[in-house]
Structures are given as C-alpha cells and as structure tokens.
C-alpha cells in the first residue's frame, strides 16, 4: 500500500527524448520534451507579439496588451540605466517575455488532457545559459566601453585607503557570483513550486485511497491548499521573470556607468 502510492515529485523534471536525432562528437543530439516546450514557448510568444504589432493608430485590445509589456520593460530600463538603456530593450524584453511565457506555460493544467507541460526554466542548464548571456553582455559592454577602467568597478567611490586591500576582493566575489545567483534563483523558485504542488497532489491521491475519513480530513484541505499555491505560483512566475530582467538591467547599468 505505502509503496504503491509513493510520491515521486522529481519525475516531472526528467528530460525525455521524443525524437531520436543524430550523434555529434559522441553526444546524442535529440528532440527532448525540454526542447519541444522551448519551441512551444517561442511559437506562443511569436503569436502573442504578432497580434500586437499591427501599429494601429488607435490600438485595439491586443495591441494595448503587447504595448503594456513593452512599455513596462522600457520604463524599467529608463529608471535603472537612463537613456542609454534604450538599446538594450530588445534583449531585456525578449528575456523577460521568454522566461514569463516559459514559467506560465509550465503551470498550465494540460495534464488533464494527457499533455504534460515541461517547465524548462526548472533546469539549471537553461537558466544558467540565460544568466551567462546576461553576464557576457555586461562583460562585453563594460570592456568595450571603458577598457581596463572597467576594473574600477571593484573599487567603489569613497573607499577608505586602509580598506583598499579588502573591498576589491569582496566586490570581485560579489561580481563573480552574479551569474550563479541569477540562474539559481529562477531555477530553484520554479523547481520548489512544482515539487510543492506535486507533493500536495500526492497527499490528495494517497489520502483518498486510504479511505473516506482520510480523504475528507486530509484530501480536501490539501486540495484547497493546492489551489492557493497554484495562484501563488502564477505570481511567482511573473515575479521571477521580472526579477531576472530587473537584475540584468542593473548589471548592465554597472557596465554602462561603472559606479
């Protein structure tokens, strides 16, 4: 009994091969469910943008929706970087929308009709690459714009002379930790939410199997909690996408203006 209803909350994160591809240098290149849901995300994002790029003088509902998002990211860049931030709008906007759509698509209850959504932002390989992209932009912009003066980033203004041996070390460590914390935050927030939902779902099913008393006493409160947590997860999906874009813009601001 106990073994039959064992909860396996990690199963949902398994990468499964859908179509066997080819081998390249001894590594298999295949279409996995992770890659498939990335494609789904891109197509959904493309359709969303397509509906709002008609450039009507009097915008319809769809165009208003798209313009709200672009305006939101534009405002964020203006606030954090200033007017130099305009040229990073395409990157930060793509990043924000891609992560937002990925997070939300992973939450869709499509399992009801047999399609299991795969949240690829719950994998460190994916979020890590996104974080490395942001970090590379910071490095490239910083060195291209300021040359070796970029290293003055590690010595903030007003550092007392007797601390000059310590502050650059701390600043350097905090600088190098950025890509890790950026990628880790998104991946763990997504993983934790999905594990929590799966564990609660296991409570519902196992308590219902154990008898009516257990089902009413444990199953119903767990199910109510699941609904609440699902709402919270939608919020978290938005906040994590926003935080990723916000921190990227802050890091780009460091590269643009030092500090």
């Amino acid at each position: 009994m106990a073994s039959s209803g064992k909860i396996d909350p990690m199963h949902q994160f398994e990468v499964q091969t859908i179509a066997e591809g080819f081998t390249l240098g001894g590594q298999q290149i295949a279409l996995t469910n992770s890659a498939l849901w990335m494609l789904v995300t891109v197509v959904a994002l493309w359709l969303f943008m397509l509906g709002g790029m008609k450039r009507a003088v009097v915008p319809g509902r769809w165009q208003m929706m798209v313009e709200t998002f672009t305006g939101f990211i534009d405002d964020m860049l203006k606030q954090n970087i200033g007017k130099d931030g305009r040229k990073y709008l395409p990157y930060v906007f793509s990043l924000f929308m891609f992560i937002l759509f990925a997070n939300l698509l992973g939450l869709l209850p499509l399992g009801l009709i047999g399609i299991h959504p795969f949240t690829f932002t719950s994998h460190f390989t994916v979020t890590g690459v996104l974080a490395i992209m942001s970090f590379s932009i910071v490095l490239i912009v910083g060195f291209a714009k300021h040359g070796l003066k970029f290293f003055t980033l590690f010595v903030p203004h007003g550092t007392p002379l007797w601390l000059i041996w310590l502050i650059p070390v701390i600043e350097f460590v905090s600088f190098m930790v950025r890509p890790f914390s950026l990628g880790l935050r998104l991946f763990v927030a997504m993983t934790a939410g999905h594990v929590l939902l799966k564990v609660l779902a296991g409570f519902v099913i196992n308590s219902a199997n154990a008898g009516v008393g257990y089902g009413v006493g444990i199953g119903f409160p767990s199910f109510a909690l699941m609904i609440g947590i699902s709402a919270l997860e939608v919020l978290v999906a938005g906040i994590q996408a926003y935080v990723f874009a916000l921190l990227t813009s802050l890091y780009i601001n460091d590269a643009e203006h030092l500090h």
Binding site: M76, N80, R185, V188, A189, A192, I239, V243, L246
Partner: protein
Amino acid sequence: MDAEAAKLIGAGLAAIGAGMAAIGVGTVFGQFLEGALRNPGAADGQQGRLFIGFAAAELLGLLAFVVAMILIFVA
C-alpha cells in the same frame, strides 16, 4: 547514527533556512508598505529597490532548498 538518517535530518534542518527567508521577505514587504503608506507619492519610484531587496532575501531561502535537495538526491 545511520548515514541515511543523518542526511534526512540535515535536509529537515535546512528547512529552517526557508523559514528564516520567509521572515526576511516579510520584513522587506512590510517595511516597504510602512514607508509607502507614510509617503504614497514616493512609493512607485521605489518598486525596483523593493524587488531587489526581495530577490536578495529570497535567494538565501532558495539556497536552503538547494542544500536540502542536494542532501536528499545527490549526497
């Protein structure tokens, strides 16, 4: 003590970190709300800083979760 039991106890102890992060996140939003109610005009301009503080506090809780996951599934 059995090594397996020690791992699970350690993973349980890591949950304290998640609770501590909850205190941190609550402090961030609570203090923001307190300031925002005193001066609503300045509140909108500080939302970026609010989320930076939230992200910093939350990251430490998520690290506790990572520690628990490593103890259960990797170590």
